[in-house]
């Protein structure tokens, strides 16, 4: 069955040398990019660069490449790993030897990555994540696919379970697979507001920087002519700005849709016996394997349009340092039934308590939100008045109305419910976010009360887990303490580990 014995020390694939070398070269180039560019440019202009002959520079560059290659080979030779008992052993180090022993029970997830370079060479990278700081991630740069899959399987098998299961080789079940159409719709219905703001700001900056250029070439008039606008000054400017806005919006929609499709291409959720796998990606594919009890909390997001189309996104959150990577642990395009079934698989005994059981913060919270949003609105308006000609008191009043609507929306989305096992907390403004946290995953509880809250008998409850901090804002102080008491009681009276 298995020709590969993972219990004796082995190296990664020899093609790993290329990978290591490639990445080191790439990061080196990234750092010295500007210097290189400057030297090339001056080389083209003159014969020498800072009195150094070009041949010297080329020789220096080749020498550097050789050194990087040598280091890559040495690293490859001094990287050995094996499995023994219920542990993963790793021995590395060219000069300073380092042995790492990882208990299988501490593994949060196994992450198999295939970048363009990997695919070219025919290997995959395997990362093992544990809960902890940045040093707790083990990276194996190159393994052939079968070894990687075997290692992955073995990492999730402990001695007890192994004996029971050696004869059963049940085929993993593909629980969910996303379609291209869904990805496309997901990309379209994303919250483009944020990216739009960024693009908008970018264009405004660009416009101001090139104001002279625009005036010199009468670009405004040319575009106005092209759009067949008449001479009314206000309409002219308004339409010009509107066009700019539309162009920005279209660009941001295209960019985010393409990004969504590329990142989530062929998203598959596969259910194994004890583990759970998410795989996706077009240019760079990744396969994430984890067991449900290593999940710290789940987040389900959607927005009004997405709900109509039946598109929900589920995020799986663990105790991780690598924020960028952890945002990848998402499953998009789920419809309501699938997301609720998936939630019940990943969060055992989860019961959706329904709308009628939702609790909300005290009404005073609306005042707090209003205050916060008004400040933002005032600042924004002050900026906009200076930038856009037609921004007037009317627009200011309209933005105040918007603030009022937003406050109500935000308040109605901030709800919380809990039962014996889980806390469900809602949040969000334009998007709707539901956070599901198992009570036994709590690390600590804090009751916070500021001066204004003290006068009204209110408090904010902060719940910390290994992956995040959940806040229940502006509830009655005695309720906050009751909930804290209850959660602590649940945590302390059970013998369940948080991982």
């Amino acid at each position: 069955m298995e020709a590969i014995d993972l219990s004796t020390p082995m190296r990664q694939s020899s093609k790993g040398i290329l990978i290591i070398f490639g990445y080191r070269l790439f990061s080196f180039l990234k750092k010295t990019f500007i210097l290189l560019l400057a030297s090339i440019v001056t080389l083209l202009k003159k014969d020498t660069f800072q009195t150094v002959k070009p041949s010297f520079i080329i020789a220096g560059f080749i020498a550097l490449m050789l050194i990087l290659l040598a280091i890559a080979i040495l690293r490859y030779l001094h990287f050995k790993f094996f499995l023994r008992n219920d542990e993963f052993h790793l021995k590395t180090g060219i000069l300073n030897k380092e042995t790492t022993i990882l208990s299988k029970s501490k593994i949060q997830n196994v992450y198999i990555k295939e970048t363009f370079l990997h695919r070219l060479i025919g290997v995959v990278a395997l990362n093992i994540e544990t809960a902890g700081d940045s040093k707790s991630e083990i990276e194996i740069n190159a393994l052939d696919k079968s070894t990687a899959n075997l290692l992955k399987k073995k990492l999730f098998q402990t001695i007890q379970s192994e004996e029971a299961r050696d004869d059963l080789e049940v085929d993993p079940e593909i629980y969910y697979r996303v379609s291209l159409k869904k990805l496309f719709l997901e990309g379209l219905t994303q919250n483009h507001f944020k990216s739009l703001m960024i693009i908008f700001g970018f264009f405004v900056g660009l416009y101001y920087e090139n104001k002279e250029l625009v005036e010199e070439y009468d670009l405004e008039d040319k575009i106005a002519n092209w759009l067949h606008l008449d001479d009314q000054l206000l309409a002219n400017i308004f339409l010009f700005n509107l066009v700019v806005l539309m162009v920005g919006l279209i660009i941001s929609i295209i960019v985010s849709t393409v990004k969504m499709i590329v990142q989530n291409f062929d998203l598959k959720v596969v259910e194994h016996q004890k583990t759970f796998e998410i795989s996706k990606g077009l240019i760079q594919t990744m396969t994430l394997t984890l067991s449900p009890d290593r999940i710290q909390n789940l987040i389900i997001t959607s927005n009004r349009i997405k709900r109509k189309l039946g598109l929900y996104t589920l995020y799986v959150k663990q105790a991780m340092v690598n924020e960028k990577q952890s945002n990848n642990f998402s499953i998009v395009g789920l419809d309501l039934n699938t997301v609720s079934d998936l939630t019940k698989i990943l969060a055992l005994n989860y019961v959706d308590l329904g709308l009628s059981n939702r609790n909300f913060p005290e009404p005073f919270y609306k005042r707090v939100l209003f205050f916060r949003y008004v400040i933002i609105a005032v600042v924004l308006n002050l900026i906009l008045i200076n930038v856009i000609y037609w921004w007037t008191i009317i627009s200011f009043l309209m933005s105040l109305l918007l603030v009022f609507l937003l406050v109500n929306k935000a308040f109605s989305k901030t709800h919380y419910t809990f039962d014996e096992s889980y806390l469900t907390k809602g949040s969000g403004l334009i998007q709707t976010k539901i956070n599901i946290m198992a009570l036994h995953k709590l690390q600590s509880v804090t009751v916070v009360q500021n001066f204004f809250q003290a006068r009204r008998g209110l408090a904010t409850l902060k719940l910390t887990t290994a992956s995040q901090k959940l806040t229940i804002p502006y509830i009655k102080k005695e309720n906050a303490e009751m909930i804290a008491d209850y959660f602590l009681y649940k945590l302390e009276s059970q013998h369940r580990d948080w991982m």
């Binding site: 509880v445 804090t446 602590l488 945590l491």
Partner: protein, 174 residues
């Protein structure tokens, strides 16, 4: 009971309550240490202002530097007043299953860390703290930063005792 507990069957009166705790204050010497630290900083700043006003000739630079330093002095003074006023709100309590620390005047925090979730402990005593016979106990959890507990100003002996007690809890189990 309020409708929050409509889903649970437990009589909530039986659950240990946060309100009914007998909190212990931290060492008063810590207040003296805080005052000492800030007064020293204040004195240094005032001296700098005086020196600047004597040494530098140009009035604009003098005004500018004096203004900046006076600003920092004001901040320090406000901080000092707040520290003194809020000092008696710094309290801690230890129960059978967890440890609690409360602090803060304008924004009051009460943090509870169950023994089961303590990852490790650290006892710190700076050179200055040693003179005042106080120490700081750091309790780390696996939670995101902020979920940890930092109890400064404990009497050295008390800090050591609590440290030992918590260590035995996390190593030996209960």
């Amino acid at each position: 009971m309020s409708q929050i507990f409509s889903n649970t069957q437990i009589d909530t009166k039986l659950i240990p309550q946060l309100e009914a705790l007998d909190f212990k204050p931290i060492s008063k010497s810590y207040l003296k240490l805080l005052i000492f630290q800030r007064m020293t900083a204040l004195t240094i700043l005032i001296l700098v202002v005086i020196c600047v006003n004597f040494i530098v000739d140009e009035p604009e630079i003098r005004m500018a530097v004096t203004g900046v330093i006076v600003f920092f002095i004001l901040i320090l003074l406000i901080g000092l007043v707040l520290s003194v006023l809020g000092f008696k709100r710094r309290k801690y309590a230890i129960r059978y299953q967890d440890i609690i620390y409360a602090k803060g005047l304008l924004i009051h925090h009460k943090t509870i860390v169950p023994f089961k979730r303590i990852q490790h402990l650290e006892l710190h005593q700076s050179f200055l703290a040693k003179k005042f016979d106080v120490a700081t106990l750091n309790i780390f959890t696996a939670g995101e930063s902020g979920g940890d507990l930092k109890i400064p100003g404990l009497k050295s002996e008390t800090a050591e005792r609590i440290n030992q007690f918590l260590s035995s809890k996390i190593n030996g189990g209960d």
